[in-house]
Structure formats: structure tokens, C-alpha cells
């Protein structure tokens, strides 16, 4: 600490700049770190919610399309002797991957409900080809309204619930994002404010401890030269400025003696 006090001006200014640069570096690093973290968080969150909604919507559209097709066959005028069962493996593998991305137990339970409802729906749907092959129009209608329609309604309800929950989660997440945004701004803001405070301090120290003494010396010399005033400037510390002041005093004393001798 004693060394700090006996530093020269050059070293003092250099160290001051180093401290200032370090504070600014830390401030900007904190701001960038918080911004990147927030950016990653937002991207991940939105991507998860969007995926979930997309899957639910795709599943619903597919089930609806198939159901309409069946209904059209049951009540329509076109009579087909056989029907092609939809391939559910593609959906199940896709949905299983998505399920893994759910974080909360509530979302996972919802996804499980959809899977079970879909499995039940597919179990009934697989009966369609046999019904079409062996039964008449009335039995097909009875099968459709009493067997297929209830499981379809259940599946639809679960999918809608999953979609609604995903949308609610999106709303909730966007609200918490607003809070987090405020939270992530704070560290950056605080560190930048501290940097700003440091700049003000630096300015004060430069003025008070380096520029003011120079101005004092300058005024003292001017007073001596213009009005023959005594040079009695006092400079605190023991740096180059104090040394300069002592030298000026010496020169003024020499000058005074020379004037006396010549006068």
C-alpha cells in the first residue's frame, strides 16, 4: 500500500486507466453473458412450446381427417368394400420424442393421456377393416357411433387439453420471461452504472490531484511574474508535481536573489 502512495504521475494515470478498463471489461462481459443466457433461454422455451403445440395440432388434424373419412364412408353414398387403416407408428415415434422434451410432470402426464387415448382409438380403428368386410350398412353405422365416436371424442378432448395447456404454458412463460428480462437486465445495468461512477471518480481525481496543482503552480508563477507576488503554492503529496513545485520555488528564489543583486 505504501508503494501505491509513492507512485509517479505516469504510473498513477496508467493504473487509473487500467482499473477503469477492467471495470468496463467486467461490465460489458456481464451484460453480454446475461444477454446470451437470456437469448438461449428464450429460444429454448419458445421452441419447446411451439413443438408441443405443433404436435398436438398435427395429431388432431390427422385424427379428424381419418374420422371424417370414416364418417363419410358410413353415411355417404359411396360404398367401399374395404378400408385402409392409418399407419400410427410414425405418429407414436414422433410423439414419444416430443414427450421427452416436456419438463414438468403435468405436461408429461398430459402427453401420456394423449398416447393412451390414441392407442385406444387405434384399437377400435383396426376393427374397421373387419366391419367393412363382413357387416352391412346398419352395423357399420352402429360401430361408428357407438364404438369409434366415444374413443375419438376422448382422444380429441385430451389433444385439446394438451394444446390448451401448451398455450397456457406459452402465456405463462412469456410473462415469466418479462420478469426474467428485468432480472437479467439488472446485473448489466448495475455494473454499467458502477463503470459510469468510476469514470466520474477518475475525472474528479484527475482534476483535483493532477490538473488543479498544475493550475495552482501556473497561477503562482503568473502572480510572481505579473504582480511580483510571493510564490507560496503548496502541493500535497510527494509525486512529480510536488517536485515541480519545489523546483519552481527554487527558481523563484534564485530569480529574487538575482534581482536584488542586479538592483
Amino acid at each position: 500500500m505504501a508503494n501505491l502512495l509513492n507512485m509517479g504521475i505516469k504510473r498513477k494515470v496508467f493504473l487509473g486507466c487500467v482499473v477503469l478498463a477492467l471495470i468496463l471489461l467486467i461490465s460489458s462481459s456481464i451484460s453480454m453473458f446475461e444477454f446470451t443466457r437470456m437469448n438461449d433461454h428464450v429460444t429454448e422455451l419458445i421452441s419447446d412450446n411451439a413443438n408441443s403445440i405443433e404436435v398436438s395440432r398435427g395429431l388432431l388434424a390427422r385424427a379428424e381427417e381419418y374420422n371424417l373419412r370414416l364418417m363419410h364412408l358410413v353415411v355417404g353414398e359411396v360404398i367401399e368394400e374395404s378400408i385402409e387403416v392409418i399407419n400410427d407408428e410414425e405418429f407414436i415415434s414422433f410423439f414419444s420424442d416430443i414427450r421427452e422434451s416436456f419438463v414438468t410432470e403435468h405436461d408429461k402426464a398430459n402427453a401420456d393421456s394423449v398416447m393412451y387415448a390414441f392407442a385406444a382409438y387405434m384399437y377400435v380403428v383396426r376393427e374397421a377393416s373387419d366391419i367393412w368386410l363382413i357387416s352391412g350398412d346398419d352395423i357399420r353405422k352402429e360401430w361408428y357411433f357407438n364404438r369409434l365416436q366415444p374413443v375419438y371424442t376422448k382422444l380429441k378432448a385430451y389433444i385439446e387439453k394438451l394444446t390448451n395447456d401448451s398455450q397456457d404454458a406459452l402465456i405463462h412463460n412469456s410473462q415469466s420471461l418479462q420478469d426474467n428480462f428485468y432480472r437479467s437486465l439488472m446485473p448489466g445495468l448495475v455494473s454499467v452504472l458502477l463503470g459510469f461512477l468510476m469514470v466520474l471518480l477518475f475525472n474528479y481525481y484527475l482534476n483535483y490531484y493532477l490538473i488543479n496543482p498544475l493550475l495552482k503552480i501556473s497561477r503562482g508563477i503568473k502572480g510572481y511574474l505579473s504582480f511580483n507576488k510571493n510564490y507560496d503554492v503548496k502541493i500535497e503529496g510527494n509525486d512529480e508535481l510536488a517536485e515541480l513545485n519545489d523546483r519552481v520555488k527554487d527558481i523563484v528564489d534564485i530569480n529574487k536573489s538575482a534581482k536584488k543583486q542586479s538592483g
Binding site: K12, V19, M198, N238
Partner: protein, 489 residues
């Protein structure tokens, strides 16, 4: 007033804070570089840079005037609280700016109130930092500055007078420099004894060091959500009762008793008054708990009564039971002891027993004067004559304390807090105690308090720690300075 010299000494205080931040970062590293490591490291570096910056430019000066001394004390406290927020703000979690201000002020002023719902979810580094703020605040930010000074000149004398109040020093006489050494030695000795005792009583080393920091500073931060109730151990509770009482008596007196191997400690009238208050209050609280049907059996009621009284009067704020549903008699007794508090020359806040003792003496002398108008009646304590000015200043202090507490409780009420909550919170914050009643009961935290109230509570804690007189003195001195400048214009 020389702003440079003020910034220099405040800078030294910040360097002390930076040291403890970096120490907390080391603790974080020991516990597997938990999530608080980088916030603590960055905060430590920032605080250190701020502290060292004035030292580059401002040279040493041993003589400072009263105004500069006052500014150093106030700024050191406020800036310590502000820079102490950094680890919390950078870590995140529940710490918004206001919450971080509350937690930081609560730590440095050794109040011990918290905004955290889940203390145990904090990383080890941050928990250690919370307790460290108690340790720094208990010893007094300014004592740290004085310890670092190469020579103790008028700077130290002026600042210590504001930091260590000495109303009653009848049983020992130490010079200023010795007094500071005594304060530091006793403080560290109590910390070491507390750590060892709590460790042997069954706490983990981490919990023991944190609670040792907390108890020596009469703070109240715990590493557990349930505070001391978590341990459910009568041994730990009675140990803490002893440590809390010791930490709230005059450190100089403790040292003098040990140094002279005498019973000075028990001969001091203020200490006797303080210990008697604890005994009587504990008995009343225990009886009211037992008769009110809150605690069954005298031993059980006494255990809770003595802990609540010791925790409150020492302004520590540890809790072993929920005060909701306690009889009003018990609550009023605890409210009284939270106003009286411990002895001067210790780490506790509040009005302090010394002042109340002088008030009691002053009232008795006044009654004697009324009964015998021609008698010459002097106020005496421990054989020493107390100056009239001192007695008057104590009465003024009591009035100011009550008035300030009233203003703050009015403010909290206006912001939606109930009457019991407002009054008890206001007294609690001003006394640096940390416990309150009603919805803000002993097992509660201040997370749900209105934002503006939390901010004001933080300010109230700092005012309570610094003292009302120094704060008013600042306004008086600065007002005079402004008036003088206006006249000179």
C-alpha cells in the same frame, strides 16, 4: 470538506468487503464451484477495484475534521450495503434490486431479517457471504478501516466514538487504541468459542461457522429455513442463549474481567440490570406460555421463553418457535426487550440497556428532587457521577428513537401492513433485531412485504446501526455548511 480523503477511507472499507467476497468465492470453490462462485468472484473484483481506486490518487492524511469523520462513517456503511448487494444481484434467484438491498442491509446491520422463502436452496458460497456480512457489520465497518490504518490518529478516535458507544465504562479504563484491540480480540475469541461449541454440539462445520458469525454479531441469519428450530436440540439452544447474552454485553468489560481474573463483569450495574431484565422477562414469558396453554410443562415453556427473550434482547433474531398465537403478555414483554436491547460496547443495536439504566437513574433522581426541593441530587452509576448533559442526551435519544420508529410504522401501515406487523417490524428494524409479530412472525420472511416498505426497512436498519444522532448531525453540519456558503456569496 476533502472528498478525496473521504473516498480514501471509504475505499479501505470496500477492500475489507472485497476480501470477504473473495473468501466466500473460495468457500464456493471448496463446495464444488457452486452457482455463486462467479457472482462472488466478479463482485469481489469490482469492489476491490473500487476500493483501491482512491488509494492510487489520494495520499495518506491522519488529521480529519468532524464532518469528514462523519461522512466516512456514513458512506462506509451505506456503500458497504450497496456493494454487498452485488453478489445477490449477480446471482439472481429471488434477489431483485430491492430484495438485494434488504438482504444486504439486514446482513451488515446484523438485523437478520430475510426476504428468502428457501434459505436452504442458496449455494454454500452465498450462504457464507450472508453470514460474512454479519461478521463485518458486527465488528463495524469502521473498525476494519481503523485496523488497517498505519497509525491511529484523530481519524480513528473520531470514527470510533461514533462506532463504539461508551455510556458506562465505570469498571475499566482503556485508552482508545487499546479499546479497539480489546474489541477485536473479544470478538474473534467469541467467534472461535462459538464455532467450536456449536461443532461439538452437533452442527456441521459449515453450519457452525455461519452460526458463529451470526451469533457473535448478534445477527440472526441462519443456514436453515427453520432457523435454530431445525436442530431441535436443547444443547444447541442453551449454548446459543449463552453466546447471545455474552455477545450483547460490553466487550471491554468481558476483557477486563478476564485480564484481571475478577468478577467485574457481575459488579457492573448496567450488566446486572441487563441480566436481571433477561431473567425476569424469561420467567414472565415462560409463565404466560404455560398458563396460556401454548407450551406444556415449565421446563418446555422456560426453554422457549428464555430463548425468545435472549434472542430478542440481544437483537440476534434466531427462532425456535412460531410466535403466532402467543399470549399478548408474552408479545408485549418481548416487544419491550426489543426496545431495551443489550449493552453498549457490544455488537447489538437498539436503545441499549445503558441508556435505559441512565433513564431509570435520571427518573429516580428527579423524583428525589421533587420530594426534597433543596437537596443536591446527582445521578450516579457504579459510584461514578453521571453528567447532566449525558442524562439529557439519553432522554432526547429515547424520544428520537420512538419518534422515528413511529414514523416508520406509520409508513408501513399506509402501505398495507397491519398495526402489530407495522409497529413490531419498525422497532425490529430500528433495533436491528429481525423478528416481528403478527403475519411477520418469527418463522416468517419479508418476501411478500411491499417493495417500498422493504426499501425503507433497509434504510431503517442502517439508521438503527449507525445511530440517530450521527445521521441528524450530518444534516445539521451540512445545513450549516450550505448556510455559510450562501452567506459568503
Amino acid at each position: 470538506m476533502n472528498a478525496g480523503i473521504i473516498s480514501r477511507y471509504v475505499g479501505i472499507a470496500l477492500i475489507c468487503n472485497a476480501f470477504f467476497m473473495l473468501l466466500s468465492a473460495v468457500v464456493s470453490a471448496i463446495y464444488g464451484l457452486d452457482s455463486s462462485f462467479s457472482p462472488l468472484l466478479v463482485s469481489g473484483v469490482i469492489t476491490f477495484l473500487f476500493g483501491v481506486f482512491p488509494l492510487i490518487f489520494v495520499s495518506k492524511k491522519n488529521d480529519i475534521n468532524a464532518r469528514e469523520g462523519l461522512a466516512i462513517v456514513l458512506l462506509a456503511w451505506f456503500l458497504s450495503c450497496i456493494f454487498g448487494m452485488l453478489p445477490y444481484v449477480l446471482w439472481g434467484g429471488d434477489f431483485s434490486l430491492v430484495n438485494a438491498w434488504f438482504e444486504s442491509s439486514s446482513g451488515y446491520t446484523t438485523t437478520g431479517a430475510t426476504i428468502l422463502n428457501e434459505v436452504e436452496s442458496l449455494p454454500h458460497g452465498l450462504l457464507f457471504w450472508r453470514s460474512s456480512t454479519h461478521f463485518i457489520g458486527g465488528l463495524g465497518v469502521v473498525v476494519f478501516i481503523i485496523m488497517l490504518l498505519p497509525s491511529v490518529g484523530t481519524v480513528g478516535v473520531r470514527m470510533t466514538k461514533m462506532e463504539v458507544m461508551d455510556v458506562s465504562r465505570s469498571n475499566f479504563r482503556y485508552k482508545f487504541k487499546k479499546l479497539i484491540n480489546v474489541f477485536v480480540i473479544v470478538y474473534i475469541a467469541i467467534t472461535a468459542i462459538a464455532f467450536m461449541a456449536l461443532l461439538l454440539a452437533g452442527m456441521s462445520p459449515f453450519d457452525a461457522i455461519n452460526h458463529a458469525f451470526s451469533v457473535v454479531a448478534t445477527g440472526g441469519f441462519s443456514t436453515r429455513n427453520l432457523s435454530i428450530a431445525y436442530y431441535d436440540s436443547p444443547l444447541i439452544e442453551y449454548l446459543l442463549v449463552f453466546l447471545m447474552i455474552i455477545s450483547s454485553t460490553h466487550f471491554g468489560l468481558i476483557y477486563a474481567s478476564f485480564a484481571s481474573r475478577s468478577l467485574k463483569f457481575f459488579k457492573d450495574p448496567v450488566t446486572k440490570f441487563y441480566l436481571m431484565t433477561i431473567l425476569v422477562s424469561s420467567v414472565i414469558v415462560a409463565l404466560s406460555l404455560m398458563l396460556g396453554g401454548v407450551k406444556e410443562g415449565l421446563f418446555h415453556a422456560m426453554r422457549h421463553g428464555i430463548f425468545a427473550v435472549a434472542s430478542t434482547i440481544s437483537t440476534t433474531g434466531f427462532a425456535i418457535s412460531n410466535t403466532t398465537g402467543w399470549p399478548m403478555v408474552a408479545i408485549l414483554v418481548i416487544l419491550y426487550v426489543s426496545v431495551q436491547c443489550g449493552c453498549a460496547g457490544s455488537t447489538c443495536g437498539g436503545i441499549r440497556s445503558d441508556r435505559l439504566w441512565l433513564i431509570y437513574k435520571g427518573v429516580r433522581a428527579q423524583l428525589t428532587r421533587l420530594a426534597h426541593p433543596n437537596a443536591v441530587v446527582q445521578v450516579k452509576s457504579g459510584g461514578q457521577v453521571i453528567e447532566k448533559d449525558l442524562v439529557h442526551s439519553v432522554f432526547t435519544y429515547l424520544f428520537l428513537y420512538m419518534f422515528f420508529a413511529f414514523l416508520c410504522s406509520l409508513f408501513y401501515s399506509a402501505n398495507g401492513m397491519g398495526i402489530l406487523e407495522s409497529v413490531s417490524s419498525s422497532i425490529s428494524m430500528l433495533s436491528n433485531m429481525g423478528l416481528a409479530f403478527g403475519e411477520n412472525h418469527s418463522m416468517f420472511n419479508f418476501a411478500e412485504a411491499p417493495q417500498i416498505s422493504k426499501f425503507i426497512m433497509g434504510v431503517e436498519m442502517v439508521v438503527g446501526r449507525i445511530g440517530i444522532y450521527p445521521l441528524l448531525l450530518v444534516f445539521t453540519l451540512f445545513r450549516k455548511s450550505v448556510l455559510w456558503q450562501r452567506k459568503s456569496i
